[in-house]
Symmetry: C2
Subunit: 212 residues, 2 copies
Amino acid sequence: MAVAEPRTTTRRRTPRVDAIRNREAIVEAAAEVLAEQGAAVDVREIARRSGVGMGTLYRHFPKKEDLVHTVLRRDFMTWAESARQAAIDAEDPWAALTTFYQQALTGYARHRAIMENLALTLAEPDLEGIHQLRLVIEQLCARACATGLLRPGVTTDDLLLLLVSLGHAVQITDECRPRMWNRLLHISLDGLRADHREPLPCDSTVAGVSAP
Amino acid sequence: MAVAEPRTTTRRRTPRVDAIRNREAIVEAAAEVLAEQGAAVDVREIARRSGVGMGTLYRHFPKKEDLVHTVLRRDFMTWAESARQAAIDAEDPWAALTTFYQQALTGYARHRAIMENLALTLAEPDLEGIHQLRLVIEQLCARACATGLLRPGVTTDDLLLLLVSLGHAVQITDECRPRMWNRLLHISLDGLRADHREPLPCDSTVAGVSAP
DNA sequence: TCCCATGCGGAGCACTTGCTCCGCATAAGT
DNA sequence: ACTTATGCGGAGCAAGTGCTCCGCATGGGA
């Protein structure tokens, strides 16, 4: 069964080399453009930058969404990987947490398409890379919590929402007031420390608002 | 000179009543739609809701931008006014600050067009309403600072950026995790209190990673 | 070298959206 | 009632964008 027919129905198993090259060029160009301009970009711009025609682009990625997802999965994976590494290298749990935010906000908050989709970490982390990132933050949270440095009751979702929130602040201030967000980060991190009088409101951690 | 010509060139000083009615209907409908869907909405939708034709809409507001600005000015003014009132009513400066954030995030973070434009408070507060809102926050900041409750070095811009940042968090979590942002607000407000060891980084540098 | 399955390019279609144009309706002054 | 400046409606234009179609080029097996 697994024997390939010799001549009549020669199914090619591997794509042609130019097709592979083109596919990579498309992803590369798309990554650039998505980082710069977000997912609302014109598909023609991606085709232009990758030196490829529309037909080629749409054969490799039948929907714009397919291309966007491919790129986002790749970039989120890269991010998660580097974040995990940085977290491992860090001396103590608290340093790991602060370093993570610093790195994330310095390096990835400029990636517009990533920031646009980061909110999905909270709703539906279906994209593989997003899930990986979530796992890293979960670990950071657990470690900082275990050492008693993190304010009791702070959850992974809190840290994620803070990331999304600050990511937006970075995008807003990036051009007109560079690194102004750094002050906000300090403020938020201090609010995350354990030395506070009152506990956090457990408002609706689990969709809490009482049902009608 | 100021005498109006009697019949040949009767310049009407006041517009026709139906024109006034239409204009108001347009603004009303636009305010609704902009709050729900943001400024990227189709102009036809506004015309439809206000029961008016495209021609009418574009005579009153030659550019879509004109209509949007008119609505935003109105809504920002309303917001600033109610915020000012609430701040005056508050018992102490800190309560005024927390109440402001609560009210802003509960009531105005759902206004999509307002949130989209709130970032302008930091860059170019040319819209009159935005400037008014900035003044309110300036007062809140000054009062809380004077009583020593606010962390030294915190500026009006910090409070504004926090507002923008949290506003985004509200929009993100509004549907899937209602009021989850409340926890983030508590964290941030605690970070704003005066009882912290280290001072805030004075804007740029700090941030560890050395400049080239 | 020859052949053809596989892949390529980009004009063009379908739809959206900001804005205009112009024939028709009517408020309001006489 | 009559007139007309003022205002109205909505079809339609122009530009942008996702996606398709089809004639042509070519990698790679023989």
